[in-house]
């Protein structure tokens, strides 16, 4: 249900609203104040941290209040490849996940519509990966594709792979892992949308002598667009900040680091908080631009 977070409308709600504002305030305030204290002010703290300057004492991890925009220039020049890689990996993985997930969502929502048991089983299988730590799943792929695994050996024997070829540590491995981890996030919102697809509209298409392909292109797909957009956002945003899959201990290698890996290293290892914060702020800004384009299109009530 939360996976339909984006792009769901609830038209019934206006009718049922009553007017007592004070009760509303009591119900809302604790949660909203919580988000203010632990979501909004941390974002401000992050922006402040991104502008700090090193303490004159020179102690590692000591920074003073400042307005050092040079931190951003440094972060961009130093980590341009990682920034570029994050967004291109996220873009490619999102497209592939969409291509893989759409037919699945379509099958569960439309073809299995009259078979509740099959549908229940398939939906359970879609969410099944959530029940086992994504770190364990990602590590399983690492072992399946490791250098002396039978897959790599078969590829070598057949001659597709040279003697010193490998999979782990390549861009392919990282994108593969990202796609795998986010297929459920793409499938569920599209399913939730197609589930409400009115089949009479599709029948009308074929009644008017449209081929199945034309009916899909002109009716089914356009109607499912809100689900596609939700799935795309729910996939693209987490991937752009992920650093587990691209980590060297998982599917990545020396040349696959993404923004998340750099933020992790700078913040938690070398304690260069300003650079880590500047990178995080830039990532957030890019996402805000992306999402506000969506909000402009559909309004705030559709957000939740």
């Amino acid at each position: 249900m939360a996976f339909v977070a984006f792009g769901q409308t609830s038209k019934t709600q206006v009718k049922t609203q009553t007017k007592s504002g004070r009760v509303a305030l009591v119900l809302l305030m604790p949660g909203l104040i919580y988000l203010g204290l632990f979501f909004i002010t941390p974002l401000i703290a992050l922006i402040m941290a991104s502008l700090k300057q090193p303490d004159p004492s020179g102690i590692i991890g000591q920074y003073d209040f400042g307005v050092e925009f040079g931190n951003y220039a440094y972060a961009v020049t130093q980590y341009a490849p990682q920034i570029f890689r994050s967004f291109s990996f996220a873009f490619i993985a999102t497209i592939i996940a969409l291509l893989i997930s759409y037919p699945i969502a379509y099958y569960i929502a439309v073809r299995a519509r009259d078979r509740p048991l099959l549908r229940g089983i398939l939906l359970t299988l879609v969410i099944a990966p959530f029940f086992i730590s994504f770190l364990l799943r990602t590590f399983a792929w690492k072992q399946i594709f490791s250098n002396d695994s039978w897959i790599v050996n078969v590829l070598k024997d057949v001659g597709i792979f040279g003697a010193d070829s490998y999979i782990i540590g390549t861009n392919f491995a990282v994108i593969f892992g990202l796609v795998y981890n986010f297929i459920p996030f793409m499938t569920l919102p599209i399913y939730a949308n197609l589930d409400r697809l009115d089949m009479r509209l599709v029948e009308a298409g074929s009644d008017l002598y449209a081929s199945p392909a034309t009916t899909f292109r002109k009716i089914t797909f356009p109607l499912s667009l809100p689900g596609v957009i939700s799935g795309t956002l729910l996939t693209f945003i987490p991937i752009s900040g992920d650093y587990v899959v691209a980590s060297r201990d998982f599917l990545g290698g020396p040349g696959t680091a993404m923004i998340g890996n750099v933020v992790e290293a700078n913040f938690l290892r070398i304690q260069d908080y300003p650079t880590a914060s500047a990178l995080s702020v830039m990532l957030m800004a890019a996402i805000v631009v992306l999402v506000s384009a969506y909000v402009k299109r559909s309004g705030t009530d559709d957000l939740l």
Binding site: Q17, G31, F39, P103, S133, R137, I144, P238, G260
Partner: protein, 265 residues
């Protein structure tokens, strides 16, 4: 006719293959929980039940697992209460700053975890707060809250306000109406939200890594262990959590379909 039958088999075949693909790492993790491994758990060395019987031989794994449970239970409880209150307010009441509220609830869903994690860590650093169990729970309530709101809100929206009105007509005070009418009707939604919050919290790694200091959680343990090879005991814990969760989902689904059948008859 040939085109039709091709289309008929193409999609189901594709669905079966993709699901097989989705299951590969899960099955792999499960199978290797029975591996007679020595230190790292990479090569198959034979079947054993040892890892399952003596899970806590690797004490770190069990401590980490225990911490994850404590964190997930606490965060779920707080987030479910706060989130349910917000969901009721959003559907039932009219208030001025609705757009701003929607935006504030939506933003955490649209923020990459690394940004939320680093932001909260920067704030704790500024305030001089030592990281530990409490800071992780604070962080988990923050990022699961919006998921709870979305899930419960869907349920509140389907609730007929006439039922609560009937309660008031029968001289129930607002508290009684809430306890006897609203809450029982919302319960499936609240339970679904709590389960989701628990799953998200239990599996969270990125936000946790930034805000936990030296506290070990299960995902953190797996991440650190990955450099040298994850011990089979971690597979045991992962597999058992998986089996329990699947069992819960199946029970909920079977009960749901029975109920639907009863209503249909």
């Amino acid at each position: 006719m040939t085109r039709f039958s091709l289309g008929r088999w193409l999609l189901p075949t594709y669905v079966v293959l993709t699901f097989a693909f989705l299951m590969i790492p899960i099955i792999y993790t499960f199978v290797f929980s029975f591996n007679d491994s020595v230190k790292s758990n990479i090569i198959w060395r034979g079947f054993t039940l040892d890892n399952w019987i003596n899970v806590c031989d690797q004490q770190v794994v069990c401590t980490a697992f225990g911490n994850s449970l404590i964190i997930a239970l606490s965060a779920t409880t707080i987030a479910t209460i706060l989130g349910t209150m917000i969901a009721i307010a959003l559907v039932r009441y009219r208030f001025k700053f609705r757009a701003a509220t929607n935006l504030l609830l939506f933003l955490p869903l649209a923020t990459p975890e690394v940004v939320m994690g680093a932001g909260l860590a920067a704030q704790f650093l500024d305030l001089g707060v030592a990281k530990g169990l409490t800071t992780v729970i604070i962080a988990h309530v923050m990022f699961t809250l919006s998921f709870v709101v979305v899930t419960v809100k869907a349920r509140v929206a389907t609730l007929d306000p006439a039922l609560e009105e009937a309660g008031r007509d029968l001289y129930g005070n607002p508290f009684q109406v809430f306890r006897k009418v609203t809450l029982p009707l919302l319960l499936p939604g609240i339970l679904a939200a709590a389960m989701l919050a628990f799953a998200l919290s239990f599996d969270d790694f990125i936000i946790t890594q930034f805000n936990s200091g030296s506290i070990e959680t299960f995902p953190k343990f797996v991440y650190t262990a990955a450099a040298r090879g994850i011990p089979a005991e971690a597979n045991v814990i992962g597999s058992s959590v998986f089996l329990i969760a699947i069992a819960i989902v199946l029970i909920v689904q079977i009960r749901g379909s029975r109920k639907a059948k009863r209503l249909a008859n």
